[in-house]
């Protein structure tokens, strides 16, 4: 699936279809909310809506970085472990070293950046498949986290109130957490559409050989993607601590699969080359809304996973169908166009 930013009818069709994905997600979210509200009108009360947003926030944040990586035809499976490590280290520093609040965010981000750096280097310089690298890093970082944590647990009283405020305060009814993530998504979304280096990412994922021939510095771009992914995972770790006010060694366990699911549901093709961060964020929101809706509608929570899995499969199949249509329309519009 390609994100051709060409002129003719083919280009417009693609852009329209891409936009349609985000709209489609919004429609789907609205649909779930509607159906659930019909069953239970309390679903759209303020607290409930706020939880829908803040519950999805961290996954949306992770989704931004993951989108960048997946667009280049790679994957980052270490984000959950990085989140957990960053969250604990920041908590530890708060509890035993009383660091200032602002540095809590900075340090978490830096830890994430360090992990992203390593991932990026190993993938681009050592030319190692990212699936394997980030899988290995998942184990290593989780293990290091365990060794460092050593059975400790950071309790809520140890974390400064001004830090945890970020986790629950709202502005005009919207949680700060959601605002922060929305800003990141907006900035990333704008950057992805406007900067040439971002378009390079799409090119790399669509057709790596052509991208190389076009002179795109693939290594540098892919490295940046991993660096950003790690950095955002580190930031998400700090935010995790602010939101949950407690941390042990289990922070972020299993998040990587949730994020990849959210991102693919959000329209990012796993083979790279297309997708948007806004879509990914909406995918995360959709999954969270569904989880909450199931409980609110008094449907057994045992169905959560099965539904998420079915949703992912549907999304992938739908994307494929969509890309086939795009290919056909491009072929008819512009003649010879060999993608995939």
């Amino acid at each position: 699936m390609t994100a051709v930013t060409g002129r003719a009818g083919g280009g417009r069709v693609v852009v329209a279809l891409l936009r349609a994905r985000e709209v489609g997600l919004l429609v789907l979210i609205a649909l779930v909310v509607l159906v659930t509200t019909v069953k239970n009108s309390h679903f759209i009360e303020a607290n409930s809506v706020q939880q829908m947003l803040s519950g999805a926030a961290l996954f949306a944040l992770l989704g931004v970085g993951e989108t960048l990586v997946i667009i280049t035809r790679n994957v980052d499976l270490s984000v959950g472990s990085v989140l957990g490590l960053a969250a604990y280290v920041v908590g530890y520093l708060f509890k035993y070293h009383h660091i200032p609040v602002w540095s809590g965010f900075l340090i978490g981000t830096l830890i994430g950046a360090a992990a992203g750096l390593v991932n990026g280097l190993v993938v681009t310089v050592l030319r190692v498949p990212s699936l394997v690298v980030t899988l290995g890093m998942l184990y290593v970082i989780r293990g290091i986290d365990g060794v460092i944590v050593n059975g400790d647990q950071i309790d809520p009283a140890s974390i400064p109130n001004s830090f945890t405020a970020v986790g629950y305060r709202t502005f005009l009814g919207v949680p700060w957490l959601a605002i922060i993530v929305a800003v990141v998504v907006a900035v990333a979304g704008y950057a992805m559409r406007s900067f040439r280096s971002s378009r390079d990412l799409y090119a790399i994922g669509s057709n790596p050989d052509a991208a190389a021939l076009a002179g795109i510095p693939i290594g540098r771009r892919v490295f940046s993607a991993f660096l950003i992914s790690g950095t955002l995972a580190g930031l998400a770790g700090s935010l995790f601590l602010a939101l949950h006010t407690q941390i042990n060694n289990n922070g972020g366990v299993g998040y990587e699969l949730i994020v990849v699911t959210a991102v693919v549901v959000g329209g990012v093709a796993i083979f790279g080359g297309s997708g948007s961060v806004v879509g990914a964020a909406l995918g995360a929101l959709l999954l969270n809304v569904i989880n909450q809706a199931l409980v609110a509608a008094r449907i057994s929570a045992f169905w959560n996973q099965a539904i998420a899995g079915a949703l992912l499969l549907t999304a992938i199949a739908f994307d494929r169908w969509l890309s086939l249509r795009v290919t056909r329309s491009l072929q008819s519009a512009e003649g010879a166009h060999h993608d995939l």
Partner: protein
């Protein structure tokens, strides 16, 4: 699964590494196996020296209990990866199959009938993967992440918070659950390890000595060429996913019998272990390269390493680090040397002309 980009995209003057100047897959594979033998020897030596109980007969039995059923899943996954795909849903199918048996047993079914249904469920799940990947052309990593979640979700729907056998249930037939307590009479092999070894021989023969095996390698190395050469790519991939589903279901039955109990979350997280074992066994994630011998050696290494480390009480967290490092080594070492050379050459060469 198509290759990650940073590793494939190279300049026009270089190939993707599979044409002239590269040794045939078999030669580099054999070298990897030699390396594995050395590592295995090192691990066994380490275990014997550091752990007073490593050389006891029971170690082999326990290794079989712990790793046997996981290793059984590694075999079809090896084939799937050889053809350039991946199957991350194996552990969830293990859980779904075991939960199916538990559910039926809970409702009074005969155990063999329950087994049969579980295997059918495995086939159905594998077929779902197969249809989506082979016939609809969807990316297997995404599909199997979806089915990973779906299968586990269905297992949860089946059993919920129950542990089978629960109050009022019959106990599982002791003749069958005996495989968890006793080894094969006259040896220290666990039943699951024996089954694995037998299957490994079959898989090895198929991979290295049959047309099917050669086809799988061809599909992994040059998918389009294989298609044009008349290989039924779709059919083979579909069949491999079904095989993976059935063997995962079988592994689920074994795991359940060994434990004599089942909850819906049985086998959670094992897919990563399976992938790690396969990759560490020298099977290339790009497809087309790997041997069953390598996978068997990998199973031996990972299994005995776990035994040794647990015996000397190295914490599970540190064992995670070891697993991760082994995984990284398994890809960095083959790629690293060449990559560093590439970087050095790139630095010395003139910048490439830009495409107009």
């Amino acid at each position: 699964m198509t290759s990650d980009v940073a590793t494939r995209a190279v300049g026009p003057a270089e190939s993707t590494g599979r044409t002239a100047g590269t040794p045939s897959p078999w030669r580099s594979a054999l070298r990897w196996e030699v390396g594995l033998v050395v590592v295995l020897a090192a691990v066994l030596l380490f275990g014997s020296v550091k752990s007073p109980h490593f050389t006891e007969a029971s170690t082999l039995f326990y290794l079989g209990i712990n790793t046997g059923y996981v290793a059984i899943m590694a075999l079809p996954v090896t084939f799937v990866i050889m053809t350039g795909e991946i199957d991350l849903s194996v552990a969830s199918m293990l859980g779904l199959s075991a939960s199916t048996v538990g559910y039926l047993w809970h409702h009074g079914w005969n155990v063999w009938a329950a087994f049969a249904v579980a295997l059918l469920v495995g086939a159905a799940g594998g077929a779902l993967n197969g249809v989506l990947v082979a016939h609809f052309g969807l990316p297997s990593i995404a599909v199997t992440i979806g089915t990973l979640t779906l299968f586990r979700g269905l297992a949860e729907v089946l059993l919920g918070s129950l542990t089978i056998p629960t109050i009022g249930d019959r106990q599982f037939p002791s003749g069958l659950t005996d495989i968890g307590a006793n080894s094969l009479p006259g040896s220290q092999l666990s039943w699951s390890m024996l089954i694995f070894l037998v299957l490994a021989v079959i898989f090895g023969v198929v991979l290295h000595f049959t047309a099917l095996g050669r086809s799988m390698v061809a599909i992994g190395l040059q998918p389009e060429a294989a298609q044009f050469a008349g290989i039924r790519v779709r059919r083979i991939k579909f069949g491999l996913f079904v095989l993976s589903g059935v063997l995962s279901a079988f592994a689920g039955i074994l795991d359940m019998l060994q434990q004599a109990s089942v909850t819906y979350d049985i086998g959670t997280g094992l897919e990563l272990n399976v992938v790690a074992i396969v990759l560490f066994g020298g099977v290339s994630i790009f497809g087309g390269r790997g041997t069953i011998v390598g996978v068997v050696l990998s199973v031996a290494i990972v299994g005995s390493l776990q035994m040794a480390l647990t015996q000397i009480n190295v914490s599970a967290d540190k064992q995670n680090i070891v697993t991760g490092v082994l995984l990284l080594i398994s890809v960095i070492v083959p790629n690293g040397g060449e990559a560093l050379r590439r970087v050095r050459n790139r630095v010395r060469r003139r910048p490439l002309p830009r495409a107009g």
